[in-house]
Symmetry: C2
Subunit: 371 residues, 2 copies
């Protein structure tokens, strides 16, 4: 069981707290993606410095390497990776679809071949929940199927209904304990009736939190916001709302304004490794030769190590040479940018100025769609 | 001009201090290799944590990327890479031989093609010293030629004599300032008469320190120690002695016992990136599957982050997944191991127990020749 406290609202935006076995998460929050038991290129010290409160682990990756049983032997994922704060794990469903080969879906679950070894694995709602239990996730996700976009309506409906049956089996398999919880995932593609049917099914089962899945799959921001506009108001108001795999800063700002509390995305960390930086003036790619002789900091408004101690010219040099320090500094900067954004969003809601915040953000930060 | 202070000796081993424009270096010391303006996979914070006092920069790499003039524009290498301590730069000669294509050596210097762009460059004693000045190196190295081993005696003699003429031109080109200095490099292969002739030539020119070059090129530890046995006693006693590109822990211990004060080697950092760890019990490769379920720390006698917060099983997992954090943690561990070794060596000399230290080290740490 997880405790959720709503502190304040501003329009539909919610300032809340989620109390887990490994600490309290201030909402809205952005979760750093730590796929294989590490946020890529980041020491735990650096993760903490960014203001990150909660880390996401990927069931699919961890079940293949080093295996859930092994992580459990090491005392769970917190201990294994030396992260003392809360951890959310996904169910593995999304990566089975996007990464593995030769997968087969039945009512029971999925069988698939590891993208690493070709070895055959089975993932069912029961096994996914068991794995997440072995990993010691504070927040487990119900096992679901995430379809590619676009998919035919008939397929979306069938898949959503199976995911809802899997959600029920996930709930049955989940071992409830204080500070631990299970989230259900709304599916149904871009079809309003299916989304609402999905919400209804999940509410009937009852979860500690409600996620919106199947978005950020190429449908564009407008369609995504449209889905949120009719879906989020139907979610239980006394539980946290999580938009999975999202997103760009402007996606996050818009989704908070529509009642979302939690986010995760590889964008800040992956961009950090490829040289894309989020700054208070928009995105820039530090590999661009225009930065070769630039003596200014990456972002004069940022206090991260990259911006405090180095020039754009040095960061450009690191990326040009393929130096690991470039990925380290830039990932920390991008995560700091995201966490600073979340902190400002929380302040705006507390001051009941979310609408002003959204307007000012849209005015100032125009170009993150380019990413 | 650099100040060298001899504090204490134990046999031929010397406990000293080298006072530079960017701080005092306690000798004997191991210099971390920061080829392209970064010690690979290490934040400056982490470099400092290891006890590293002085960093080495590579003239060849920095002249190609980002260029010496550019580093000077950024205020010198210390400022560019945010390393406040002393920096030694090599002359570029060694890398011209080992990395570049289509090189040509004349009395004037060398012309070569960049291994990166194919672009043609010239490096002469005068240009090498100018580059090192632009980089703002506390310690510059005379420009020399380093031959492959073995080379015919006639070639070794000719090359050494040319390097000695280049040493004279390096001295003429060097702009002396307080806290900055120039080291000469002894060449002459494995041939005693040539080594002694080289020492004589360098002493006649006069340098702030004396390096032994052309070793650790495949000749083996025995031959290397033989060269040191007859070379080091001829070096000025009131100047620091630097053994270039060395080496394994046992090389360092043996060389200090023969009167060497300074070392540099890519071994701890490169090994750190490939999974080789130096421990108090010898070397191990963390990729080995025997560590998959190992709950013990990398080295129970070490207090670095890798050994304090993680298991061998976790480090194994990081390397198996190709995670950057593996390289970060392991590089820091290896550099810490080297710096701890240097600290123990300094203590042993201070207590006049270097011979005992060497004996105990050889007894305990048997297998670093496997590396």
């Amino acid at each position: 069981m997880l405790k959720y406290k709503k502190i304040k609202t501003s329009g539909k935006a919610r300032r809340g707290q989620l109390i887990t076995a490994h600490g309290t998460v201030e909402l809205p929050t952005f979760m750093a993606v730590g796929t294989a038991g590490t946020v890529k290129a980041m020491s735990v010290e650096a993760i903490k410095r960014t203001g990150t409160q909660i880390v996401l682990g990927n069931t699919y990756h961890l079940m293949l390497r080093p295996s859930a049983e092994r992580v459990a032997d090491f005392g769970g994922l917190h201990k294994f990776m030396n992260w003392p704060g809360p951890i959310l794990t996904d169910s593995g469903g999304f990566q089975v679809m996007s990464l593995s080969g030769l997968r087969k879906i039945t009512e029971k679950g999925t069988t698939f071949q590891s993208h690493l070894s070709g070895e055959k694995f089975e993932l069912t709602p029961e096994r996914s929940i068991e794995i997440q239990h072995l990993l010691d996730a504070d927040i487990s996700m119900a096992f679901d199927e995430c379809l590619p976009y676009p998919s035919p309506e008939k397929k979306v409906a069938e898949s959503m209904r199976r995911s809802m049956r899997w959600a029920g089996r996930s709930k049955d398999a989940f071992r409830d304990r204080d500070g631990y919880g299970l989230f259900g995932i709304v599916q149904g593609g871009m079809i309003k009736d299916l989304r609402l049917e999905s919400v209804k099914a999940l509410k009937k089962i009852g979860f500690d939190g409600y996620a919106v899945g199947g978005l950020a799959v190429g449908e564009g921001q407008e369609k995504m916001f449209e889905v949120l506009d009719y879906t989020v108001p139907e979610l239980p108001d006394d539980k946290p709302h999580y938009l999975m795999g999202v997103g760009r800063p402007s996606d996050i700002v818009g989704a908070v304004a529509r009642g979302i509390d939690m986010f995760d995305c590889v964008m800040p960390s992956r961009s950090g490794r490829t040289g894309q930086a989020f700054t208070s003036h928009g995105v820039l790619n530090i590999r661009n030769s225009c930065y070769q002789d630039d003596h200014s900091p990456l972002d004069a408004n940022c206090t991260c190590p990259a911006c405090t101690h180095y020039t754009r010219g040095y960061l450009h040099h690191l990326f040009r040479c393929g130096e690991i320090l470039g990925a380290m500094l830039m990932t920390e900067h991008n995560l700091r940018f995201y966490q600073n954004l979340m902190a400002k969003i929380r302040e705006a809601i507390e001051a009941d100025q979310m609408a002003d915040f959204v307007a000012a953000f849209q005015e100032k930060y125009k170009d993150d769609r380019k990413m």
